[in-house]
């Protein structure tokens, strides 16, 4: 498999008056799976389609292994793409679908057959080769689509929300399979999705996009623990928004505790009213006598198996959500008094 490093530099694209991409810079190292994550309209799909050659960027450059492919027409780019749904050719069998790219490259019939069957085995569907797409389930169709994209031994694999149209159970299974395949083949992959769980669990690095710009790109744990902006913080994981006040240089006073500000929240002046973004799992139960404790009444209790979500009502504040181990809160009921404190080293804030 030809390895490829994908570099997007200063890529911009406008649709009419709307800026779909705003000077995007992105580097995907050879063999890496990068996920572009963001809400609809953030530009992630546009970026993917520009890489594929299905759209033309207005400015900037796209290079694979240092070769500028900006002028190369889509059908000559040798990239494998998997679409969200409905991309299998309905008039061809599964085998013919997978072999299509090879047929276009004038590969001999025997080689087409051999390679296609090989790939169908790789995705676990060798018995379906003579079926037609409409006879397969959604998950099966996407696997065939994947096999079809990989058959041409592309330098880059492009995945456009391939799991979004599938049932939850199928989605999680296929997600793992795609990642496994990608790792074993070592193929450079760009994966676009709006599902943060998908992106975080599959990717080597995740890039969060908004309004055509990349807000932050990094390994999943960095995005989660050190979000660069409030948008990233709330997109990647849930956050409580607790009214607070900036004090001194680099600290925030929230719920009676003074906690350092994250490096990305330094722009607020002393005394400014803000919302502190606190992850539920950063809130720990303490005894009422703890000097830093915040007291409240349990308003919500949701049992989720290993975890239980507790919603605490505190006078003058919105409901604060905690995620606690179920065994620790077995005896706590709605209406009980509860005490907790923030156990985080630094917090991100946004203007209130």
């Amino acid at each position: 498999m030809k390895k490829g490093e994908l570099v997007l530099k200063n890529v911009s694209k406008k649709f009419g008056e709307v800026k779909a991409l705003d000077k995007l810079d992105l580097v995907i190292k050879s063999g890496e799976l990068v996920a572009l994550l963001g809400p609809s309209g953030c530009g992630k799909t546009t970026a993917l389609r520009i890489v594929a050659g299905l759209e033309h960027h207005d400015s900037g450059s796209i290079k694979i292994n240092d070769q500028n492919i900006s002028g190369v027409p889509a059908h000559q780019r040798n990239m494998g793409m998997v679409f969200q749904a409905y991309s299998l050719f309905p008039n061809l069998t599964v085998l013919e679908n997978v072999a299509f790219g090879l047929k276009m490259r004038k590969v001999s019939k025997e080689k087409q057959q051999k390679k296609s069957i090989e790939l169908l085995e790789l995705v676990g569907l060798p018995t379906q080769k003579n079926r037609f797409p409409h006879q397969l389930s959604g998950g099966q169709q996407q696997r065939v689509a994947l096999a079809r994209a990989l058959a041409i031994e592309p330098s880059v694999l492009l995945l456009d929300e391939p799991l979004s149209a599938l049932d939850a159970q199928v989605r999680t299974n296929l997600r793992d399979e795609i990642r496994r395949l990608q790792l074993s083949l070592g193929i450079t992959t760009l994966f676009v999705t709006h599902d943060q769980e998908e992106a975080m669990s599959m990717a080597d690095r995740v890039g969060v996009m908004r309004n055509g710009k990349l807000e932050q790109i990094g390994v999943p744990s960095d995005l989660y623990n050190k979000p660069a902006t409030p948008f990233v913080a709330s997109f990647v994981g849930i956050a409580n928004r607790i009214p607070a006040e900036v004090t001194g240089k680099g600290n925030v006073k929230v719920l009676g505790q003074k906690i350092a500000l994250s490096e990305f929240s330094m722009e607020f002046d002393d005394g400014k009213k803000v919302n502190a973004l606190v992850r539920p799992e950063s809130l720990h139960l303490v005894s009422e006598s703890d000097p830093e404790a915040t007291n409240g009444i349990v308003a919500i209790k949701s049992f989720l198996g290993p975890l239980t979500k507790i919603g605490v009502a505190i006078e003058g504040y919105p409901i604060v959500h905690l995620n606690l181990a179920s065994k620790d809160v077995k005896r706590i009921e709605i209406g009980d008094r509860i005490s907790f404190k923030i156990a985080a080293d630094e917090l991100m804030v946004e203007s209130a």
Binding site: A52, G53, L54, A74, H75, Q76, R77, N78, M79, G80, M81, F83, A85, Y86, S87, L88, F89, P90, N91, L92, F100, G101, K103, M104, R105, H134, A145, R148, A149, I152
Partner: protein, 299 residues
């Protein structure tokens, strides 16, 4: 007193059995069965039976034997030819136009074309004939215009009141019909297929040859059949544009109904009608079958 609850046992169906529940379900459907029976199946079965009857009411194949000879034979051949030529001249332009509009047209244009096609597909008869006579008849405005530009439509033997003239006039409603019937097929061509094909290395030619045309072909063929049946059976326009100089089956049946004496017995008209039904069915049944299948993935 405990209430008895009726439990439906999965798998145990009462379909097909003549029980009370099934009969009740059929009851509200009786009106339409009766209506179709009385006003459609009854007259058509009469045509069928009478076509096998002689003047005296006995069973005979004579009517059909007569119908297979001239002047009726010629009429059948001409009508079939008209259907084919009309379908051929309208199918491809109509399909291409439908494709162009669907791919490149804005929403407003698509709506306009759709409305206009719907309206135009139902034009015919005398109004249509007059429009064409006024336009490209011997004294027509377009004819005069072209003459001033040096093109004389009537330099040869061309006349609007001929087979050729009919084909030209038929285009006016056949092409819109093609647009109406073929557009859903074009709409169903998913962008993803073209993009996936491109991504896999297909040029436009490759795409059309391997994917596009094979997918569109059944609908195209079905639409063609519809155009054929329509051109074959059309009556009003043919009647307005010919004066007995083009032998067509609908016209012959028409004149029989008007009481004109014809070669053969009293039930010749019915035999002719059965002939028309047969030929029409040969085209329409495959049309409906294909439509049914392609409708599934087109909606």
């Amino acid at each position: 007193m405990p209430e008895t609850v009726e439990v439906e046992i999965k798998g145990a169906t009462s379909r097909g059995t003549l029980n009370r529940r099934n009969l009740l379900v059929l009851l509200p459907l009786i009106p339409i069965f009766v209506y179709l029976g009385a006003f459609f199946l009854f007259p058509m079965s009469r045509v069928l039976f009478d076509s096998f009857k002689s003047n005296k009411g006995e069973f005979t194949l004579e009517n059909f034997q007569i119908v297979l000879h001239n002047p009726y034979r010629l009429a059948f051949l001409t009508s079939i030819k008209l259907g084919l030529v009309s379908a051929l001249t309208a199918a491809l332009p109509g399909a291409l136009f439908a494709y162009l509009i669907e791919i490149k047209g804005s929403e407003r244009i698509k709506k306009l074309v759709s409305s206009l096609s719907g309206v135009l597909s139902s034009t015919g008869g005398v109004p249509l004939a007059f429009m064409f006579i006024a336009a490209i008849g011997a004294q027509g405005s377009a004819t005069t215009l072209l003459k001033n530009l040096g093109i004389d439509l009537y330099s040869g033997k061309f006349t609007l009141f001929s087979f050729t003239g009919l084909v030209i006039v038929y285009l006016y409603f056949q092409i819109p019909i093609m647009v109406v019937v073929f557009t859903p097929a074009v709409k169903a061509l998913r962008n993803e297929w073209h993009e996936a094909a491109t991504n896999l290395g297909a040029t436009r030619f490759n795409y059309w040859r391997n994917i596009g045309i094979p997918i569109l072909f059944p609908s195209f063929a079905a639409s063609f059949l519809l155009l054929f049946a329509n051109g074959f059976s059309a009556y009003a326009t043919a009647r307005a544009m010919t004066v007995g100089n083009v032998a067509l089956v609908p016209l012959q049946i028409g004149s029989l109904v008007d009481g004109n004496i014809q070669v053969g017995g009293a039930n010749i008209g019915k035999a002719l009608a059965m002939g028309m039904v047969l030929i029409s069915a040969v085209a329409m049944i495959p049309y409906l079958v294909i439509q049914r299948r392609t409708r599934r993935w087109q909606s």
